[in-house]
Symmetry: C2
């Protein structure tokens, strides 16, 4: 597979980064990457969206410089570009992650209440309603 | 004039807030409001975009709960919803403002170099150098 384009650290654009996170699915991807604190196989996000939607989300995040995509054999791995973002906008990424966690906390609550026995991947799938 | 709709503080959505700031003009509006630390007349932003574009930007920011719009006589005033955002996402607004300032600092550089004697309102017009 061809290595996809990644913007250089010093060309990171704030508006593009915020646009890349202006979507609930992409915020969830951000949270999972932050929690994993390691590369995550792209295939591990298939509970969030269809494959073609995921490709779109990954591309948005990659083009904004939020994540890097790495090919390894037939797999692709996604990683947060922590250091690059921190270098350009100190504190921003941690703040966005913290805010996304708060948002997720708010939206998850009722779902847990509605379906206490829902399987784990179900609860993950649709972040819903305060 | 009819008072426009404003989302309640507890319904503020992170993805919507980030979308409302995923545009350089709206980031500049945010910075000016933060610097003013007071209501700003909508007419004071006409150096940034055409009136109809500005209306669109103000609406995006209002619908996301970033700003409130207030009618007074024939004028409209814009204000940051600092407390509401801080209540939902502590630290987020200050971090976004700080990042926007850094971004502005970076993008301003060449302009100052190009026109050191530009009049003051000109300097305001285009985000310039920290």
């Amino acid at each position: 597979m061809r290595e996809p384009f990644h913007p250089s650290a010093d060309s990171l654009d704030l508006a593009a980064i915020l646009a890349a996170l202006s979507d609930p699915t992409r915020l969830t991807i951000l949270l999972r990457l932050a929690e994993a604190d390691a590369d995550v196989r792209c295939g591990d996000f298939t509970d969030l969206a269809t494959k073609s939607n995921l490709s779109y989300h990954f591309a948005k995040m990659r083009e904004a410089g939020l994540v890097s995509l790495r090919n390894e054999g037939t797999s692709r791995f996604l990683a947060l570009r922590r250091d690059d973002i921190e270098g350009q906008f100190p504190g921003l990424l941690d703040q966005l992650i913290a805010s996304a966690q708060r948002m997720e906390g708010r939206t998850r609550k009722p779902q847990i209440a509605d379906s206490p026995d829902a399987p784990r991947n179900r609860a993950k799938r649709k972040p819903v309603q305060a």
